[in-house]
């Protein structure tokens, strides 16, 4: 449930669901996101430009020429939303190649975590992750939570260019760089899968908030010959 609502500037509303990052809080955010999105599509509310769900916040930007903070706040407060129970979350399997050419940070990780590459990968691959949110760059999923033994801080100096398809880990999270981008996550592999497809207008992103995601290893030969 929303714990607090405030304004973010004059053209956005900031809904705070509490300080904890966990699936329950996030599912509540996603429920609000899904419900408000539906109402926007059905033209039950006008003036909303964007709705951004994240771990524990929901930010809604609006068109100040047609509405304002108090109107949108009133709309949110009066919504009756039951927390979404994802009985059958979509389960997605992502192929990842972790050979040295793609797993850029295993030297750093083996040193920091005091584990071998094989041990790190076993712990990483042996778990299903929850998608908290997508964003920063188009389609990038933020997944969690990693086994505590393989949690590691960001790189001290972020890379200027992380290759497209890179799979990264930091703290309790793992993500996929859907585009070449600057970034500071520890890179453990690369997926040949198309996570973001701008030509797919209905479902441009493969992984959505609430989905369950697991990874499996492929060889370099399989990576190179990958055909969707």
């Amino acid at each position: 449930m929303i714990k607090n609502i405030s304004n973010l500037g004059d053209a956005a509303i900031y809904c705070d669901f509490g300080s904890e990052v966990n699936e329950k809080t996030n599912l509540s955010v996603i429920s609000y996101f899904n419900n408000i999105s539906r109402l926007v599509q059905e033209n039950k509310i006008s003036g909303i430009n964007n709705i951004t769900p994240s771990y524990n916040k929901l930010i809604i930007s609006f068109d100040l020429t047609t509405t304002n903070y108090l109107e949108i706040k009133d709309f949110i407060v009066n919504l009756e939303i039951k927390d979404e129970k994802k009985d059958n979350p979509k389960a997605i399997k992502i192929a990842v190649c972790c050979e040295d050419e793609f797993g850029l940070d295993f030297n750093r990780l083996t040193e920091k975590l005091k584990l071998t590459k094989k041990q790190i990968l076993e712990l990483y691959l042996n778990k299903q992750y929850f998608c908290y949110m997508t964003g920063f760059i188009a389609g990038m999923p933020f997944l969690g939570d990693l086994n505590e033994k393989i949690r590691c801080n960001r790189l001290e100096t972020p890379r200027i260019k992380v290759p497209k398809g890179s799979v990264g880990i930091t703290e309790q999270f793992t993500n996929i760089y859907t585009f070449e981008s600057p970034g500071g996550w520890n890179i453990i592999g690369n997926t040949p899968l198309k996570i973001f497809d701008k030509l797919n207008l209905e479902e441009p992103v493969l992984i959505k908030p609430g989905d369950k995601v697991s990874f499996y290893q492929i060889s370099k030969e399989e990576y190179i010959g990958w055909d969707e």
Partner: protein, 317 residues
Amino acid sequence: MNNIYFKILRPGINTTIQDIGRNHLYHVGITVSGAIDQRNYKIANRLVDNESDEAVIEFAYQGPLLKLKNGKINLTITGDILFKIIRQNLKVEDGICYKSYILEDEDQIDIISTKNTAYGYLSVNGGFKLHKEWNSYSTNTKANVGSNNGKKYSLGDKIFIKNDDLKISKEKKINYKQSLDNMIRVIKGTNFDYFSSEAQSNFFTKKFSVTNLVDRMGIRLNGPKLENIVSSNIKSEGLVRGVIQVPADGNPIVMLSDHGTIGGYPKIGTVISADLDRVGQLTPGTKIQFKEVSLEEAQNIFKAYTDDTNKYLNECN
């Protein structure tokens, strides 16, 4: 019919197609894009009798050198821009902003530079032959979405023009002077209390200068280091245009139209909607100061700014 187009003889630093922007996609990580200076974008369209949501060419600092092929068009340039029109007979005319021109076949338009601002706009009557992608023409170079495959223009590219049946409308001109006021009004941010009382006071009383790290994503500022007394990271959450984030180095960053959709730095403030056009136009080295306003004041200022924009748009008729 004629396939009129601009041939790009020099692309300029960052020449893209922009419009009002692309909404309803923050949740998948696609930012809003759109013209950095929405007022100049709107005036550019109105001066050539276009609909208000038509696509225009946006350029930054050094603009493009364009040669018109296969026809005749009506165009205008808005902003604070130094440009020349090179006629087919090589006669050169000094360009005047906020004035519509007829460009003949083989004429060139040389957008030499912006003057005291960062961005300018070129519109042509009828617009360009482009397709909207997700409801917008805007080029988003981060996701490669929008016009020109989501890329900025390069040497030799062609930009096709829709109107092959030019109605020569009467020449239009308005007097508009870009505001260079360096007082930027801000509403306190959701993490304002993360900062020391000295930082809070400095934020609204000291000057900050615009660094060289400016682009369509944002503007990095330099000034008194804003000391964070809680945490220099927050749980990543949504961003909107105008949000001022402060990373661990204590220097604020203002989010512009191509900002990442989520971010994890504390938000000390948000620039009010009425000042976004002006913030986007700031150039490196400029000194600015932030002034706190309430939500209610911000809404009133926005109303006045919109009325003012409409006044200029009406003068275009």
